[in-house]
Symmetry: C2
Subunit: 620 residues, 2 copies
């Protein structure tokens, strides 16, 4: 009975003498912290230390490190288990659930320890994966805990496996507190589990070091009281020092008041129109009747942060300009507070820290909004699992507003409100889908990072940018309309690009007249149940639609057919000259092929069963 006791002494478990007899059937096992050599075929671990680290659980007892090998199309993971009990589950799933998850499991039957590629069914029951695609490379006992090193190809061609793509990945974990006689005896529903969102496939880009000649400026709310309402957009005017010359912002990062991390949903800094040399020092809700009208001229995006994002760096050749002649001395901070529990009296000084330099870089960078106009005419019926809305930046607008040499997009931040599940922006040229600008198939509104693109995307005059968002409204009773409120929806991609242009907003919405035709039409089909009375607002009209399959499908058909109204806008909400209503939907005659994952050869796989890991006294 020596071996079980070794495991249990080493792990934080009651020893076998205290365990049920069922776990006592085994005999001695090997003594060293080694893997059976036969199981450790395949590539050696990468030489370099791990570039990325993240704690998985709030207690930080599980730590994940990883490196990405693009040539091998594989990720090398190191999972550090600080407080090993009877094992751990680790893996990925569509949205962070422990059901239908793709897992690796380290478990013991009280005697021998095993490592295996597994999956959980829709009830959370764990099963051995007949194709073992997580390849165990090394198990090491370190002073911090047990370190498991393993490798996983991006795609495995096993339909039970998760496909690791660009964008958000929902990592999941579970703690096994006691031995299990077999893998199949484990059900994730009985375990302490959790999720962590992360972008696994980080771009192969090194961030430029912050030059020594950079200054920092904090623009933040001045110890305000967060209103006791669910949604607040707070506006605060900040004045730059008099005579502040032109600088380039090269980096910025959020400063969140401690304790308010869950309340601050997103923040933006806008510059006021250059001609405005005197802006009132407003500090209050943006929809306040007291808000001076002149603040409506402060809409030129300077910096944007949203929940989940970290510091943002500009490429070495570009920075965003602020200060100096031709630019207003006033900036407006807008903080979106999301206060669903209507907490009263919470004070806040959150904002953004700008790092800037007077050594101007070659290009001025800009931020452009793509996607849908914030208007209720774009709506999602309730009880939909994957309803898609699409916003366009048309060829007519890019033709008019982009410089002859085009622009280069280097970063992108996807944005929706609570029901957003996927976002993608595709560039179309000459009627054909050409290139993906940014895509997140596991998008979460709780993890809105600004992401550097793996490859800069050049947009030419006449190109079309098509942004589609997929929403899940299964838990809603009424239609979700477009708008500013957190319970309304948005579909936006903030793209960061250079050289800067006057075009700040290139978005669309269905033509309002055609939406009225829709209401009339379904009204007639459904025996006058929809309120189309002239005084009803679009939101009221949507709220009165009986959502049968016909009305849903016809709404989809409307959005895929009806002409659009374009917002092809400079700052200060000024449209570029031209006719922007009743524009035809851009035609796309060919779409990009879905990339087929490169299936790993069978040589790269581990044997078809679990790997036995004999853990004993250890070498340390």
């Amino acid at each position: 009975m020596q071996a079980p006791s070794r495991w249990c002494r080493w792990a934080s478990l009651p020893c076998p003498s205290m365990r049920e007899a069922a776990f006592m059937y085994s005999t001695a096992v090997a003594v060293f912290l080694v893997i059976l050599v036969a199981a450790l075929q395949g590539s050696a671990p990468p030489e370099s230390p791990f570039l990325y680290h993240i704690p998985l659980d709030p207690e930080e007892s599980l730590e994940l490190s990883w490196n990405v090998s693009y040539p091998q199309e594989a990720i090398f993971f190191q999972l550090l288990v600080k407080q090993l009990k009877a094992g751990v589950l680790f893996g990925m799933s569509d949205r962070g659930e422990l059901e239908n998850a793709d897992l690796v499991v380290l478990w013991t039957d009280g005697d021998t320890a095993y490592f295996a590629d597994a999956w959980s069914d829709q009830k959370g029951q764990i099963h051995l994966d007949p194709q073992q695609d997580y390849q165990l490379l090394q198990v090491e006992r370190t002073p911090e805990g047990l370190a498991l090193l393993f490798k996983r190809p991006f795609g495995t061609c096993d339909p039970k496996d998760y496909l690791i793509e660009d964008g958000t990945v929902h990592l999941v974990y579970g703690i096994l507190e006691e031995p299990f006689l077999s893998l199949e005896a484990i059900n994730s529903s009985g375990l302490r589990t959790g999720l962590q969102r992360v972008q696994l496939l980080k771009p192969n880009i090194t961030f430029p070091a912050t030059p020594s000649d950079t200054y920092a400026m904090d623009i933040h709310a001045p110890d305000i009281q967060i209103p006791n309402q669910v949604t607040t957009y707070w506006c605060y005017i900040h004045e730059l020092p008099e005579g502040f010359p032109r600088h380039h912002i090269v980096k910025y990062e959020p400063i969140i008041t401690k304790g308010n991390e869950a309340l601050v949903h997103h923040m933006e800094i806008f510059q006021c129109a250059p001609e405005m040399d005197n802006v009132p020092h407003f500090n209050g809700p943006c929809d306040s009747k007291m808000k001076p009208d002149r603040l409506n001229y402060c809409r030129h995006v300077l910096a944007a942060w949203a929940l989940g994002a970290k510091a943002f760096y500009y490429p070495e050749e570009a920075g965003i300009a602020f200060g100096g002649p031709g630019s207003s001395r006033y900036v407006r901070l807008e903080v979106h507070y999301h206060n669903p529990l209507v907490i009263e009296g919470r004070r806040d000084s959150s904002g953004i820290r700008l790092y800037y330099t007077d050594k101007l870089r070659r290009f001025n960078a800009g931020i452009m909004e793509l996607g849908l106009v914030y208007t209720p005419v774009m709506a999602i019926p309730p009880r939909e699992t994957a309803f898609v809305l699409t916003g366009y930046c048309t060829d007519k607008c890019t033709q008019l507003a982009l410089p002859p040499s085009g622009i280069h997009i280097f970063a992108s931040q996807l944005h929706t409100h609570l029901t957003g599940r996927k976002v993608v922006t595709v560039l179309a040229r000459d009627g054909r889908e050409w290139e993906i600008v940014n895509q997140d198939n596991h998008y979460s509104p709780h993890f809105q990072e600004i992401r550097m693109l793996k490859k800069m995307v050049s947009v030419h005059r006449g190109d079309v940018l098509i942004t589609s968002c997929t929403y899940n409204t299964e838990d809603r009773e009424l239609a979700t309309v477009g708008g500013f409120g957190i319970l309304e929806e948005m579909c936006v991609n903030y793209v960061h690009y250079y050289p800067q242009t006057q075009l700040e907003l290139c978005k669309s919405a269905v033509n309002a007249g055609f939406l009225q035709k829709y209401f009339h039409l379904i009204n007639r089909f459904n025996n006058e149940e929809v309120c189309t009375c002239p005084q009803a607002s679009v939101s009221q009209q949507f709220a009165s639609v009986p959502w049968n399959s016909f009305n849903r499908e016809v709404l989809k058909a409307l959005y895929a057919f009806a002409p659009i109204s374009m917002h092809c806008n400079k700052s200060s909400a000024v449209r570029f000259p031209g006719e922007w209503n009743l524009q035809p939907l851009p035609k796309v005659i060919s779409t990009l092929e879905e990339p087929t994952p490169h299936c790993p050869t069978s040589q790269g796989r581990s044997p078809a069963g679990p790997t036995i890991i004999s853990i004993g006294g250890g070498k340390g």
Copy 2:
């Protein structure tokens, strides 16, 4: 230069001395008709002789034999190449095209012969498949030609591979007339190629031997002249001998007048209503003004044949009753002549030969029509690649018309006209899809076999039978409406079952009033382009629809939403009592999961490259 000359002497090729120098680079190869042993891993060929045989090309120079192993989920093929030149292609594709096909290729570079799993791209260019799923088992020179024995799993999990399913498979072939330096040098567009349709996955059923006490009766058109028009339904009344007692038909087969194989599209034999003891001896087109009205009472299906079908056998416990008291002495033969070239003066005596016995079997069998009513209200817009129409046999009808013990379906014949591409009937019970009755994902209107089901399907009272047909109207300019004409469409599954019931027809169509709502609605949306004038027929209305994406999608939404009119009919077009108009569409809350193919283990696969086949003087 011995080896090339052996290949060329053995094959029907000019010998190397006459070939271009490019093919002359090789040296001697092995002399015997053997395979490199290393390549011939895997299962041995099945012991039994091949059950199924089919010539592939009209010249019958390629003959395919095969056996199905359901336990192994694999097919053993033997391809006999009678006149080998420089090689052959053989494989499968969606609809018989040589592009995007899954192929095995036997080829020579003028010297060595190779066998490989390959695929053709959309231009017909051949590529080596990185995953070799056709496993070569034996190559044998026989007196008839070269026999290649190989094995292929039903599914390979390789996205480039064809999935062998129930229903029609389009086999393709190509003849290589000269050597190719490499596989990649072959393009199917330059070859003599062809297709052959076949059901590969034959059910594991042995046909009962025709008992010795069976008689034959030919019911056929009496040397008529096929009218010089595209579509003719010919009606001919046949009278049974006076006092003809009750028999069971146990088998029937088509008798087609030689030379008219392409003109006879389908044939059916109907019994007249039992109370009719005198039916005029009509012989002429079914839509003739001369046709006696009483023929409308001859609608009880006795036998049905359509293009591509062979003889039909009843299960040993059942037969279809005819003759005797309570049954009319008159039957009506209906022959659908399809004469697209409007050939004049062709004479025809085609019909059906019935085999019957006076040893009555335990059950009377029946034939029931499922699917869509023949009415223009069900229409397919033009330029659709995969438009689905669905017909229902509702719970209300099965509740009323089936016996308490239900019925057992043992065979099925799917039927559409020219644009049909897929057909499926699903049984739903308690709102859930329960079982597939019959499915053909590669259905061809030119191959309408009556197929025995692999497993009998029991239909209970209250079950719903849902028949869906997928149409391709890419080559049409106007909508294709439902109807009898060959350029109109049908969606029918003739199911063969026992015990016989009075229910002959359980079909549906969209409610006509709701279709008029559709026309009004799109009229309004499209600025009054659709003719909804009261005198217009539904076909005329459909012909005037401008087929934009909106009108297409709304038609789909209408068919998926609007109430239906049911035909829950006994013979003689008499409906079962009850309200059958404005019936709700059956609700289906859960669908059957797509079966995921069982991926073969890597051990079962051949090596990743072509197999060298050394062909020389031979052992024979």
